[in-house]
């Protein structure tokens, strides 16, 4: 069934499909560059990511709020009713924008990759292409295809280019395999759900817009919803399925950490919203009975999200490894996204989507400082060892960037995190008031671990006010690509923080569109 049958203003934006194609073509082009000239390879990769970002930006500027951008729609596998349907609404556009930014920044922060450079950027661009594809797919089969395309490059990025403390490659092998298997196991659950949805709806379409209006029975939704939600939530780092995240983030090369935290975790959260909640809203309805005070899947997942927030933050508070601090903080911040979704209110879900964007940028920034600016120079991530190095003198740019990123991360006004988390909390306050206290606790611990990492690494108490004696082996200065990448991300978080309307104008009308009508009617509170 073509997409044009749904009642929503349509606009055409075929150029957006080129975000995907350009990434895949870029991956091939990168492999064809001469291996003797890595600089050329890097520029090709950067150019590819810029193309994706510019195309997205162009589409965002033209976008009429509330409409649906039709990108591509053609028959693909008619026997099963599967179509090649790409489309974007405001939520997709927000995340496409994030992907473009994170992709460019990731390449800038990978400028120093010398080992098998071409393969690195090839895997990187395939991953980016898969991510663009997921955010653009409006056919469930196609979405799943892109979702899985993104898994394999992640494995190789971590297993080949990950960090090897003291030359030991086993941790990164372990982390890479764990990440791949967790992702694949999650997607296995999603696949079961997709197949079931296809069979239950009469086996003639997998179009998201059509399925969103298909009256699945409540019984069916009750078991399909948790299956798909959990499947996607694995990638969003929901407790207790989060354990891939800290190890994966810590072992990955900087750009891969940035992408993992920046966009890959958002794939999971996006899937939760776009597939699980949009198609099976009745799965969120009360069961009619209570177990341990939980009366619906909504209560269950809200509680798990809450645990993610508090648990992630608490664990981050006691880490000795700088990268693990940020890794666990990602679990905590992604908890806000999932909690926001579970508020089932417009303001909460809006906050959740905004938080996806905001956390993508901020986590990218934090990982860039930790992995590229600090670790690649000092070769240690131990908080205790970093303190005495007087990094605020040795690497002032890193110190300033991290301070700003930390401010954004704890949700100070003026940065994007503030408005996002505020909306989530407002949503929670309206629907589940008792949880607000636990969320507040999570935020406080968040401030504490961020403060702890910031002071231990950059401003240790032992540091005297006077300029220190010159170090014997000065650290290499921050390079131009690093500065450019940091500025790019900082600008994005500050612009959205100061003027959140530019994203909210995309997100809010989309939540009110017919696509989400079943969700609105089925339990909007």
């Amino acid at each position: 069934m073509p997409l044009t049958t749904i009642s929503q203003p349509l606009a055409s934006a075929p150029q957006l499909a080129w975000t995907i194609y350009a990434s895949f073509l870029g991956a091939v082009a990168v492999l064809l560059t001469p291996s003797s000239r890595p600089q050329f390879t890097r520029w090709v990769a950067l150019l590819t990511s810029v193309v994706g970002f510019v195309l997205t930006l162009g589409a965002v500027l033209q976008y009429q709020p509330g409409s649906l951008l039709l990108v591509a729609d053609s028959t693909w596998i008619p026997q099963l009713g599967i179509r090649y349907t790409l489309a974007a609404d405001g939520i997709s556009l927000t995340l496409l924008l994030l992907t473009g930014l994170a992709a460019m920044a990731g390449i800038l922060f990978s400028w120093n990759i010398e080992h098998r450079t071409r393969e690195f950027f090839a895997f990187y661009l395939v991953l980016i292409g898969g991510v663009y594809g997921v955010f653009l797919s409006f056919d469930l089969f196609l979405l799943f295809v892109f979702y899985e395309i993104a898994i394999i490059p992640k494995y190789f990025l971590i297993a080949i280019w990950g960090s090897a403390p003291n030359g030991d490659t086993r941790p990164r092998q372990y982390a890479a395999m764990k990440l791949a298997l967790y992702s694949f196991a999650g997607s296995a659950l999603v696949l079961i759900g997709i197949l079931a949805a296809w069979a239950a709806s009469g086996s003639h379409t997998l179009n998201l817009a059509v399925l969103a209006h298909y009256p699945f029975s409540q019984h069916f939704q009750m078991w399909a919803f948790p299956l798909i939600f959990v499947g996607f939530a694995v990638l969003a780092g929901l407790w207790p399925f989060h354990t891939w995240a800290p190890t994966g983030h810590a072992a990955a090369p900087t750009a891969a950490s940035m992408l993992l935290a920046g966009v890959v975790m958002k794939l999971g959260a996006y899937g939760c919203l776009r597939v699980a909640m949009m198609l099976f809203p009745l799965g969120l309805a009360p069961w009619g009975f209570h177990i341990l005070g939980l009366g619906s899947w909504r209560d269950v997942f809200a509680l798990l999200a809450l645990i993610s927030i508090v648990y992630g933050a608490s664990v981050a508070l006691v880490q000795r490894d700088f990268k693990f601090v940020i890794g666990y903080s990602s679990v905590s911040h992604m908890g806000f996204v999932l909690l926001g979704l579970m508020t089932l209110s417009q303001i909460g879900i809006n906050g959740a989507v905004l938080q996806m964007f905001s956390h993508g940028i901020i986590a990218g920034l934090l990982f860039a400082v930790v992995g590229r600016m600090v670790y690649d120079r000092t070769h240690t991530r131990d908080l205790a060892a970093l303190g005495p190095m007087q990094l605020s003198y040795a690497l002032p740019f890193a110190a300033v960037t991290f301070t700003l990123a930390a401010m954004a991360s704890v949700g100070l006004p003026g940065f994007s995190g503030f408005i996002a988390e505020l909306q989530v909390i407002l949503g929670v306050w309206r629907s589940m008031p008792w949880m607000v206290f636990a969320v507040a606790l999570g935020i406080l611990i968040g401030v504490a671990f961020t403060w702890r990492a910031l002071t231990r690494v950059f401003f240790p108490a032992s540091q005297s006010d006077e300029s220190p004696a010159p170090i014997e082996h000065p650290l290499p200065p921050i390079t131009l690509p690093e500065r450019a990448g940091a500025l790019l991300l900082l600008t994005a978080t500050i612009i959205v923080g100061l003027y959140p309307h530019i994203l909210m104008r995309l997100i809010l009308p989309s939540l009110q569109s017919p696509l989400f009508s079943a969700l609105r009617n089925g339990g909007w509170r």
């Binding site: 393969e119 297993a159 197949l195 296809w198 069979a199």
Partner: protein, 494 residues
């Protein structure tokens, strides 16, 4: 009964005749004219002759009008035509790969055999057998063709005369095979006793009521075919045969023999004894071949995938994963809907393509002394082309999009869910999907060696014959193409 003219019969079996002629030609040429020539020359000529024979057979395939000869002796329609084309293409690929590998080995005086002509002749004879198997619905002919094929495959397995493993594998294969042939024949004789006919359609008419004798016959037939498709618990020969046989013989056993095994199995069950299907739905189980196959499928999926985790030899790993794949494929039989045979064929075709490709890569690697998982280390830097092909084949086997194996799984599981009663087979689908997560682990372990592990200090770039590389690249491209545009093959399987 309308009489059949011999001219008509000859016309319909022209492909088989062409292959047989080519086989004798190869034998004669190699045995009489070229006995003293170097192996590289003999291999090249034998390969060219076999290629010519297969291409002629491909051109002569009677794909026009459906044919149904009395007693189901020869039944041809659009679907059998597709299967025959695929089987001939697989033979072409085996010929090209083994020819190019033998030419190279001949140059380096390291060929696994000096019986070049016999190797290619046996390949062509095996192809004759599989073509007959596809085109008949007569149990006697099925049995004869199965035995013909098995005999060739036993020899194929034992072809490396210098290897004890090869001889041992062939002996195991032969003993198990002989046993299962006995069961199959017993089952067939019972079916004949019940119905008085060897034609599957006649049997279906006579055996419309499931009774205990029919069930006994079905169990025996399942035993016989379970061996052919290497499903647990009839799989014991497979790991040894896959490991001991020369790599491309193993490739042929894993691909063509599997395709034809599943197709004939499906014919017998769907046409002959559909009335005794029973039901494998978790809440409505009823006796018949469905619950038996469901048990076999569960066992194969679990045993194949879990045992593959522990393998250190790449070939044994492929053997156990083949057992796992047989388990998935059985879902297509258990579903038993009009679509499920098409989905099953799509799966088994793409599986054969990928597994033959993997064995092809192995064959090239083995000429360079790489045969275990650990010796694969750093392959991607020694031979980027072969590594990329291996990546495509293994990820297709693992079911990663956009490769053919993914869509095959998707379609197969989808038809299994559609089968009546709706969602009755959900338990099998869930098990299959979870097992494919396990499978990803061991495929990734191989790819980790290839792409991640550091190269050995003294490693040099690999030499690989250009013809083999091109063949493998074409097969990899086909795997990608069938994954991106499954419709190309799907619409021919209706």
């Amino acid at each position: 009964m309308n009489p059949v003219s011999y001219a008509e019969l000859l016309r319909l079996t022209l492909p088989q005749i062409a292959l047989t002629v080519a086989a004798f030609f190869v034998l004669a040429c190699d045995g009489m004219l070229l006995r003293r020539s170097p192996i590289a020359v003999r291999a090249r000529i034998a390969m060219l002759l076999s290629l010519a024979g297969s291409l002629v057979a491909l051109a002569l395939l009677p794909l026009t009008a459906p044919v149904h000869l009395p007693d189901g002796m020869l039944v041809l329609d659009a679907r059998t035509g597709v299967v025959q084309v695929v089987l001939l293409l697989l033979t072409l690929a085996v010929t090209l790969l083994s020819g190019s590998v033998l030419v190279q080995q001949g140059r380096e005086a390291s060929a696994f055999t000096t019986h070049i002509g016999e190797f290619f002749a046996l390949l062509l004879f095996a192809t004759v057998a599989v073509l007959f198997l596809v085109s008949t619905q007569n149990l006697l002919l099925i049995f004869l063709a199965v035995e013909f094929l098995s005999l060739v495959l036993y020899v194929f397995t034992a072809f490396n005369k210098h290897s004890r493993a090869s001889a041992e594998a062939a002996l195991k294969y032969f003993l198990f095979g002989g046993m299962s042939a006995g069961f199959l024949l017993f089952g067939i004789s019972l079916l004949y006793g019940i119905s008085g006919s060897l034609d599957l359609q006649q049997i279906a008419l006579a055996a419309s009521q499931p009774d205990s004798l029919l069930l006994a016959a079905i169990v025996l037939v399942i035993l016989g075919f379970g061996f052919k498709i290497a499903a647990a618990p009839f799989h014991l020969w497979a790991p040894d045969a896959y490991q001991g046989a020369p790599s491309l013989s193993a490739g042929f056993i894993a691909s063509s023999s599997k395709v034809v095994g599943f197709f004939v199995f499906a014919q017998v069950l769907f046409i002959g004894v559909a009335s005794a299907s029973g039901n494998a739905a978790w809440h409505l189980s009823a006796p018949g071949w469905m619950p038996i196959l469901a048990a076999v499928a569960v066992l194969s999926m679990l045993l194949g995938n879990l045992a593959a985790l522990a393998q250190t030899s790449l070939r044994r790993l492929l053997a156990y994963s083949a057992i796992g794949h047989a388990g998935y494929l059985l879902l297509g039989l258990i579903a038993h809907t009009p679509q499920s045979l098409a989905a099953l064929l799509y799966y088994v075709f793409t599986y054969a393509l990928a597994v033959l490709g993997a064995f092809g890569v192995l064959a090239v690697l083995e000429t360079n002394g790489i045969d275990s998982l650990s010796s694969l280390a750093g392959l991607s830097r020694r031979s980027p082309t072969l590594s990329a092909c291996l990546l495509v084949f293994l990820l297709s086997l693992a079911g990663i999009p956009p490769l053919a194996g993914f869509f095959a799984k998707f379609w197969l599981f989808a038809v299994a869910l559609q089968a009546a009663p709706a969602f009755g087979l959900l338990w099998l689908v869930i098990l299959a999907i979870l097992m494919s997560v396990v499978a990803l682990f061991y495929y990734l372990r191989v790819l980790r060696q290839v792409y991640v592990a550091p190269m050995a200090e003294n490693a040099t770039p690999l030499s690989s014959p250009a013809l083999a590389r091109i063949t493998l690249l074409v097969m990899a491209a086909l795997t990608l193409l069938l994954g991106c545009a499954p419709n190309l093959l799907m619409q021919r399987l209706r």
